[in-house]
Amino acid sequence: MASRIVSLKVNGQNEEFIVGALTSLQDILRDTLNYTSVKEGCRQGGCGSCSVIIDGELRLSCLTPVQEVDGSEVTTLEGLNQSNSIAALQQQFIDKYAAQCGFCTPGMMVAIQALLDRNPNPSRDEITEGLAGNICRCTGYLPIIKAVEGVVAEMSGASGD
């Protein structure tokens, strides 16, 4: 089987692997690089728990062949943790009890960050549409929506509630 070198910049770090067979980006991130915030809720593209940002765009790592992102910049929640922009969202999640079991939370954080990067002032409809690819079985979503609204209010200078 022909193999090739794939280069990625993951969370600012240059990484190189030799890959031959079809390999998902998820497997590389979780198993090879130990970015365990990339959760494996379905490997079917249905739950959003493996969401990452690839070259500025929200995508699902489970359905992305790693060969197709050669030369790309990949950001997982571990990468976002190093940025200031995620801190306000994280605090809102804590204040609004927006996670229970926490398994969907990393994917939620990444998806919400991607939403806010694109649209810093989303309406409630835009928020729920932005969350449409991420399943949470615990919270009933309302606390998550409130957390996002809290961040939006903070960013626009209004009160968080």
């Binding site: 067979a21 079809l22 593209g45 359905l63």
Partner: protein, 268 residues
């Protein structure tokens, strides 16, 4: 364990398809192929690097590369029905990945964008080792949706009338599709001059509904003709049963949603 192939050109891709035949799966966005075809295939060919993600506008019409994503359609196409269909595919991450080419090959009840393309009487162009060939999307589906080479682009003219797309789902966003309806109707002196009715979830593939079109052409777009078209569509379609909806419910929704689409057009 599938070998991963990355052709550097359309010619190379066409060659890989020719030499590997049915043992090859093609991955563009990955949202469908990575689940269904690629894991079982001997060879997987990634086509993201081929640059087939261009949108070209010409005299009201469009030429869409097969790698154009749902997000590109939502953000940069002037046709609201196509935007709405693309908006209904998955959540934001899926929309950044899923391509129009993948949508055309998607198993039902997926393939909502293809329903609109069908109503626009689009053509599909394949690249093969013997060169390019183009066929109508309708004929492509009528002959069993068999790929002949690599789907490179989809072309369509401007809508020949009022175009409406409606989807029946089970939740507001990121819903599986029960059925989808796209109706393009051109009025001529108060009567229907041309009608293109396309249905999703009504059969094995997205389908044109000639019976419904026939019921409209030459008639005033009103209660009687709309009812006749809806009855024809419900009678002519052959929807399937799956986890999301039964054949019975789908047939009923085809009539209901076609009625709603045509009423919307009639109301202007």
């Amino acid at each position: 364990m599938a070998e991963y192939l990355q052709p550097g050109s359309l010619e190379e891709a066409a060659g890989m398809i020719a030499s590997h035949g049915s043992s090859l799966a093609i991955v563009a966005g990955g949202t469908s192929a990575m689940r269904y075809s690629a894991p079982q295939a001997e060879h997987v060919m990634g086509v993201r690097g081929l640059g087939m993600n261009k949108i070209e506008h010409f005299s009201g019409g469009l030429s869409l590369g097969s790698g154009v994503t749902m997000s590109q359609i939502r953000e940069s196409l002037p046709i609201p029905a196509l935007q709405e269909a693309a908006r209904g595919v998955g959540g934001p991450a899926v929309q950044n990945m899923a391509t129009i080419g993948g949508n055309i090959f998607a198993r039902q009840p997926y393939g909502d964008v293809a329903v609109v393309l069908l109503a626009l009487d689009a053509t599909v162009t394949f690249s093969t080792v013997n060169g390019e060939h183009t066929k109508k999307l309708e004929d492509f589906y009528a002959s069993g949706a068999q790929a002949d080479g690599l789907l490179t682009r989809i072309d369509c003219a401007a809508p020949g009338g009022e175009l409406v797309y409606l989807k029946c789902g089970r939740r507001r966003f990121n819903s599986p599709t029960v059925i989808a309806v796209a109706a393009c109707v051109g009025l001529d002196n108060g009567k229907v001059g041309n009608a293109c009715i396309a249905l999703g979830g009504a059969g094995k593939h997205p389908t044109r509904c000639a019976a419904a079109e026939k019921a409209l052409i030459g008639e005033a777009l009103g209660v009687a003709s709309i009812r006749a078209a809806a009855d024809q569509a419900a009678g002519a379609c052959s929807p399937g049963t799956d986890s999301v909806a039964s054949e019975w419910y789908r047939r009923r929704m085809i009539a209901t949603y076609l009625t709603r689409a045509l009423q919307q057009i009639a109301a202007g």
